[in-house]
């Protein structure tokens, strides 16, 4: 036998994958609920409160409703692509969670189990690659709909992603110059030992944050689905759970980008003012997960808070902001960071 397969390793990773994917699905589900609640509270309303205590079963009811809706595939659409669109959107949304370190490690059955599905050395590049693929779901879906409103939505999504991906990447380069590593785990370990990256990269974080809003198609950058000009944007022709997949993938994307921002700039699973080494490894991992989730919840609230405060950009304003403000700012940030690093020989 030349190839020894560590069966326990495979099982361990399989369980981790199932847990992470289902957890991100559940969180996305409740993010829809939280969105409605936050919107209601910010507007002096009550929000959903009929299904279950405090309306907690509302996302379940919504899901059931979506499943029972009539499934419509328009005659004039290209069917294979029409189905591929939401599937791809969902797939790429879920795939991103693979490289995120959810915690340090737990100790079970005499094994150290890392709470990260894959600690690849180009983690952040993988995230970028998959997130960029995510727009294909929108583009394919909008193209397959064969509807001018959908197509306009898809066009907007594509050009928006291109414009903001650039600034996002450049702002990240400045961060990578400091960390010197592309592995997300490595970045968290560095931040755990030293300071959070937000201290070194406030401008970079701001640019990254704005671009993350644009990548998630969230208000004020939700032009692809601007309902008052494009009906439903790219998902105009979609119904039933295919529409559900599109809406859902938006929330998963939001969750994932919250996790990424927390990991890159806010120390990931590092709990501030607590020395993790003083706890047992399992306890420390639990604290780590809780810390990460706390940060994520804060970011999610921020996403929603912004959505219910700021109106949508005009299209030319969006392009102006992306190309003529954020990219020069990101370049400046990169050069300044490089200069400082060079000067102090850090």
């Amino acid at each position: 036998m030349f190839l020894t397969i560590d069966l326990a390793f495979i099982i361990e990773k399989l369980i981790l994958i199932v847990v992470v994917v289902s957890a991100s699905l559940v969180i996305a589900m409740y993010a829809t609920f939280a969105e409605r609640k936050v919107a209601a509270i910010l507007q002096d309303r009550r929000g959903p409160n009929r299904a279950g205590p405090f309306g907690l079963l509302q996302p379940l009811a919504d899901g059931i409703k979506l499943f029972f809706k009539e499934e419509i595939i328009p005659n004039f659409s290209s069917k294979a692509l029409f189905i591929l669109g939401p599937a791809l959107a969902m797939l790429t949304a879920v795939m991103t969670s693979a490289v995120i370190p959810w915690g340090d490690k737990v100790h079970f059955f005499g094994r150290d189990i890392s709470l990260q599905i894959a600690d690849i050395n180009i983690g952040i590049l993988y995230v970028f690659g998959v997130v960029s693929l995510g727009v294909y779901g929108i583009m394919i879906g909008s193209w397959a709909s064969n509807n001018k409103f959908s197509l306009l939505g898809g066009l907007r999504a594509a050009s928006q992603i291109i414009s903001y991906e650039l600034a996002m990447g450049i702002s990240l380069i400045a961060l990578l110059m400091i960390t010197g590593s592309l592995s997300l785990k490595e970045m968290v370990l560095q931040q755990q030992a030293g300071h959070w990256n937000i201290i070194y990269q406030p401008l970079g974080f701001l640019i990254f944050l704005i671009c993350a809003f644009a990548e998630c198609n969230r208000t004020p950058f939700d032009l692809p689905e601007a309902e008052n000009e494009l009906i439903g944007g790219y998902h105009t022709e979609y119904s039933s759970m295919k529409l559900g997949f599109y809406l859902f993938s938006e929330y998963i994307n939001m969750f994932i980008s919250s996790v990424i921002m927390a990991t890159l700039f806010f120390g990931g699973y590092d709990m501030p003012f607590v020395n993790e080494a003083s706890f047992s490894p399992n306890m420390a991992a639990l604290i780590g997960i809780a810390a990460l989730m706390g940060k994520v919840v804060m970011f999610l609230f921020f996403f929603m808070w912004v959505r219910w405060t700021i109106p949508r950009f005009r299209y030319d304003q969006l392009m102006h902001l992306g190309w003529r403000i954020l990219i020069p700012l990101a370049l400046f940030n990169m050069l300044a960071t490089g200069g400082v690093i060079l000067y102090f020989h850090k």
Binding site: D44, R45, W308, T309
Partner: protein, 184 residues
């Protein structure tokens, strides 16, 4: 040009300052405003659980009244039907037979009494016209049904519960009706 009123406000058309053009301070200001709304009192009333108090002159669905012994007040005089501007009320009179004294207060009673709730405009003129305090407008409202014909309420729907046989439902139906000590 001379201003026509003293409420004229000059529009500021100065070019935006750097701070304004940076856009972020404006966003932060706006977000603080929305954040402050988290702590504001919500004006919404949780309807089926909570109800807004009615004014004492609220006019809801009609109720046919009984006296303290549970006898129907209505004598089928038809004044309410005459007063009704929407012509929603129809009735048929009948003579009280011997042995029915515990059912009807006077010698004549309404054998059939119908109000078409889709015609009714809840003006309360029937209540004003009634000399026997036999009909009044309650605080019940929002009737709902699947068929239009169900909205023609007959005596079963309109009569107040019997005060002796079903005192609980009677007092509930009576509500906090303020006026009228019984007119005889």
């Amino acid at each position: 040009m001379q201003a026509l009123t003293n409420r004229v406000k000059a529009v500021d058309r100065k070019p935006m300052s750097l701070l304004e053009r940076m856009y972020l301070p404006g966003i932060i200001k706006g977000m603080m405003i929305t954040f402050s709304h988290i702590f504001k009192k919500k004006p919404t009333i949780n309807y089926p659980e909570q109800k807004r108090p009615f004014s004492p002159v609220f006019r809801g669905l009609q109720i046919l009244n009984r006296d303290e012994e549970g006898r129907e007040n209505c004598t089928a005089c038809g004044l309410c039907a005459v007063a009704c501007p929407a012509e929603a009320i129809t009735m048929e009179a009948a003579e009280r037979q011997a042995g029915e004294e515990h059912l009807y207060r006077e010698e004549k009673y309404a054998a059939k009494y119908e109000i078409n709730m889709l015609r009714c405009i809840f003006c309360g003129l029937c209540e004003e016209a009634c000399p026997k305090d036999a009909i009044y407008l309650s605080e019940t409202f929002t009737p709902a049904d699947y068929q239009r014909k169900q909205f023609i309420y007959d005596k079963n729907d309109l009569l107040i519960p019997h005060p002796k046989e079903n005192p609980e439902a009677y007092s509930k139906a009576l509500g906090n009706r303020p006026k009228k000590e019984s007119v005889n």
